[in-house]
């Protein structure tokens, strides 16, 4: 059993039309209260992944399930969750079209922890949608899909040798997350 922190974007970029099947809304867990606009947000998908992992016997959580204490800032809350939930594994859901500002902050913290040796590369599992990152069968290169949205964290994640599993459909994403964290 793992204690999993499910990270990733919360909202879609303005004007982006995500390819999230509408039917997934019916699979959202009963404990999850959807917020904001119609259609599933990346945050809703993360809640779905948390439920999938809980069904598999893991303890999984989201930052959004932990209310800030007093004037607590984001970094302090992140570390409180890591300690309070005894986090030993990080799942990064990385869809095309997600707002990555919050993710960049999470990446920064994780990469620092990786470099300091506080977190093992095996503990950070990255799930980019193929539009974000994918293997080119012709050249054998990993290629980036989202033009003008490159981040230095791609290179950092590759250097850190964190397991990376690109996905193309939400069925695949959910299956791959379960398989990466299972026996």
């Amino acid at each position: 059993m793992r204690s999993v922190f499910v990270l990733g974007p919360t909202t879609w970029r303005a004007g982006f039309h995500p390819r999230v099947p509408a039917g997934l809304a019916g699979e959202l867990p009963a404990w999850w209260e959807r917020r904001g606009r119609p259609g599933l947000s990346p945050l809703d998908i993360r809640a779905l992944l948390v439920e999938d992992l809980r069904q598999e016997g893991h303890a999984a959580t989201l930052m959004e399930l932990w209310e800030p204490q007093g004037k607590e800032l984001r970094t302090a809350r992140f570390h409180r969750i890591e300690k309070g939930a005894h986090i030993d594994t990080y799942v990064i859901y990385w869809p095309e079209g997600g707002h990555t500002e919050g993710m960049s902050w999470e990446f920064h913290g994780l990469i620092k922890a990786l470099l300091d040796g506080h977190v093992a590369a095996e503990a950070v599992r990255v799930f980019p949608e193929v539009g974000v990152l994918g293997l080119d069968g012709e050249t054998g290169l990993i290629t980036l899909g989202e033009k003008d949205r490159r981040t230095t964290y791609f290179q950092d994640l590759m250097d850190a040798e964190c397991p990376i599993a690109p996905w193309t459909t939400y069925d695949e994403l959910r299956l791959f997350v379960r398989k990466h964290l299972g026996p």
Partner: protein, 120 residues
């Protein structure tokens, strides 16, 4: 097509999983192109097989030591290597066991079965 929950079921069905895992069984990093060409797999079939192998956590993709993202004729990319994971070795062990069983009963097998499992 929806992938099966069980990676062993997929590996038995996929025509390339076995050959890719076999090349990686030495536990050394291999360039994807080297694996693809050595096994004579078409680019798209290879991409799909590696995609699913990494999804099931049977194969790991990591950057080649010292490689950096850079512009290439096919976009912004980085050189990577493939490595087998402990789960991948377990699946390969099952496939090898099955192949051994078939070898023992070769005389009773259909030609297609021999071609699929016993032809190097």
């Amino acid at each position: 097509m929806k992938l099966p929950e069980d990676p062993v079921t997929w590996a038995f069905q996929n025509p390339h999983a076995d050959s890719i895992l076999s090349v990686l069984a030495d536990r050394k990093p291999h360039l994807p192109l080297e694996v693809r060409k050595r096994q004579g797999i078409a680019p798209e079939s290879f991409r799909k097989a590696v995609h699913t192998l990494t999804g099931y956590d049977l194969v790991r993709i990591r950057s080649r030591k010292g490689a950096r993202f850079q512009g290439t004729p096919r976009g912004y990319g980085i050189e990577v290597v493939l490595e087998v994971t402990p789960k991948g070795l377990q699946v390969l062990d099952l496939l090898d066991g099955f192949r051994g069983l078939l070898r023992e009963r070769q005389a009773t097998l259909a030609r297609a079965t021999k071609e699929r499992w016993l032809t190097p």
